[in-house]
């Protein structure tokens, strides 16, 4: 994959609204990054008027290249995101990106996209890319959420999904249990699935990766690690892959082949 030039751009807030008690959506106008960002890449943002120090990493949830808009979906996890949630339209946010290497796309078979929690964010762009930009078979999308209050994701992905399946921790919507549990049925229903791409909690990705490896389905996972820089210089985010090679989550990932991480 060719690396695109990384840059820092001021993105004004176009809108910043609540999706659920702890998750917000943020739309920023930042033409230069939007023009080149690919599904699975991420950005590091900083509210220069805020009290936090380092940038914060967020996956590119979607882009609108016509209107130069970048969508991020963020959980109000701590100080930085809580301050972000207070900002009004027009406020300037420094955006660094696009960072990392995104998902890879092959010209055959259907893809099963699986997201858990805010890990669902990059699934949006990936789904739209598969179904609209690549004009291939629509992906099946499997989302693991806590409960029925987190169905706001549908608005973002339903147009791009061949089928949209939810699992909830409490059974308040869709299937009760983990996303993992829903996979066998999906694979049975869609034998043309050749790729799985997952973004979510490590334990979720691990289970799915192992299943995919066993079944011989190509699988990519998107990792999360604390990052100081996001572009390969702090070495805060490295790990040793199963091949023995050392990787940087920020620069070589965040997307990796399942075998290299969980194989």
């Amino acid at each position: 994959m060719n690396e695109t030039k990384k840059m820092v751009e001021i993105g004004n807030i176009v809108s910043n609204w609540e999706l659920s008690a702890d998750v917000n959506a943020l739309v920023l106008e930042c033409p230069d990054i939007v023009a080149v960002a690919k599904p699975g890449q991420f950005v590091m943002i900083k509210n220069e008027m805020g009290s936090t120090y380092l940038r914060r990493p967020f996956g590119v949830a979607d882009v609108d290249k016509e209107q130069d808009l970048l969508l991020l979906i963020y959980r109000k996890a701590g100080k930085g995101t809580q301050e972000l949630a207070q900002l009004d339209d027009g406020a300037p946010i420094s955006v660094e990106g696009p960072l990392g290497k995104g998902f890879s796309f092959k010209n055959e078979g259907r893809t099963l996209l699986i997201g858990g929690g805010v890990g669902i964010a990059p699934i949006i762009y990936t789904a739209r890319h598969l179904s609209k930009e690549l004009d291939g078979p629509k992906p099946v999308i499997l989302l693991g959420v806590r409960n029925h209050k987190e169905l706001f994701w549908s608005d973002f992905v339903e147009n791009f999904a061949e089928k949209l399946v939810y699992t909830t921790d409490d059974g308040s919507y869709g299937r009760k249990g983990f996303a993992f549990d829903a996979i066998p049925d999906i694979l049975k229903e869609y034998p043309d699935i050749k790729h799985i791409k997952v973004c979510g909690p490590t334990v979720m990705m691990k289970g799915i990766a192992e299943l995919a490896i066993k079944q011989g389905i190509e699988c990519e996972v998107s990792l999360e690690k604390r990052m100081a820089c996001g572009f390969g210089v702090c070495l805060g985010c490295t790990f040793e892959g199963k091949s023995g090679k050392r990787w940087k989550v920020c620069g070589d990932g965040p997307v990796f082949a399942a075998e290299e991480v969980f194989g």
Binding site: K5, K6, M7, V8, K46, T52, Y53, L54, R55, E96, R226, M227, A228, C229, G230, F231, G232, V233, C234, L235, G236, C237, T238, E240, R246
Partner: protein
């Protein structure tokens, strides 16, 4: 940017500007080429190199703190041999005009000599001796807090290289001038200060240290007042030039260090936040010189007026 006002000779190394990228925060320099013009970087100071490859510490390595950060990378690096074979040629190709300073450490006095000798090659313009990394149990911290050990390392390094030798001091000491004088006497060509202050964050949910290595090194704006004080003290105690660093984010910060007595400065953690910081700081110094009608950055060095 007016490079004639900024060009600086530091311990015999001719730099385009007095603003460098600090070790461990600037990669090998070339990672920054998307964000800035490497020709306008005073010097690239490499990630700390060691005799053998190191994987670094397990667990979380980065923690944000108020106006700063802790790191316990643990000197992850490919080792000196891979550096010389693969990385240095790449750096020299992609950044042919930028001064390159190799930062390194070892676990014994002999290690330091071996490293210095291996780094005494074309393409390396100077070496920075890290005697202060607080993360490595096998030695670093001892050299950095014991003046005799620091002097021994300095002598050993000097005996094995023809390059200018910068010794980087730890701030985790009672009196940094004692360390500075010991190292000067042992033959160092310049001093760099400060390295990180040892700190700790505890996760109150898990009741465990947040960092994999329990403690880590504190850097960023939070430490700037301590760093400026130490540069000020050391500048009055030694006659060799000083590379000042610790919390520099803006040209104004850098000018404080220059006035305190540093001839050059380095930007550390701020590179993570604003990857053009090294050049932006240089530009800001230049604008300040212009505004104050000064013809060269050296006119600021050590000019703080007391009393």
């Amino acid at each position: 940017m007016n490079l004639t006002r900024l060009a600086t000779d530091f311990a015999g190394i001719r730099m385009a500007t007095p603003v460098m990228g600090a070790s461990g925060t600037f990669g090998f320099g070339v990672e920054y080429s998307d964000f800035l013009d490497l020709d306008q970087v005073g010097a690239i100071i490499s990630k700390g190199l060691t005799p053998l490859p190191r994987a670094g510490n397990e667990g979380v390595r980065i923690a944000e703190t108020p106006s700063g950060m802790l790191n316990c990378i643990g000197l992850e690096n490919p080792g000196i041999d891979v550096f010389l074979k693969d990385i240095l040629p790449k750096v020299r190709k992609e950044a042919p005009n930028t001064v390159f300073i190799a930062n390194f450490s070892g676990s014994s006095v002999e290690d330091y000599g071996i490293m210095a000798e291996k780094l005494d090659v074309d393409g390396v313009d100077g070496i920075e001796v890290n005697i202060s990394c607080p993360n490595v149990k096998e030695g670093g911290i001892v050299f950095g807090t014991d003046p005799k050990a620091a002097a021994a390392v300095t002598k050993e390094v000097k005996a094995h290289t023809g390059k200018p030798v910068i010794v980087k001091l730890s701030p985790n000491v009672t009196d940094i001038t004692v360390m500075a004088k010991a190292v000067e006497e042992a033959g160092a060509d310049a001093l760099a200060l400060i390295n990180t202050l040892t700190g700790m964050v505890i996760d109150i949910n898990s009741w465990k240290p947040l960092l994999g290595n329990v403690t880590g090194g504190l850097s960023g704006p939070a430490v700037k007042p301590i760093a400026v004080r130490m540069v000020y003290q050391v500048a009055r105690a030694v006659n060799i030039p000083i590379l000042g660093l610790g919390g520099i984010a803006t040209a104004e910060d850098a000018i404080e260090f220059l006035l305190a007595g540093a001839s050059t400065v380095a930007v550390g953690a701020e590179n993570f936040v604003h990857p053009d910081a090294v050049v932006r700081v240089a530009e800001g110094i230049d604008a300040y010189l212009e505004k104050h009608n000064l013809s060269h950055v050296s006119e600021l060095v050590g000019k703080v007026q007391i009393g």
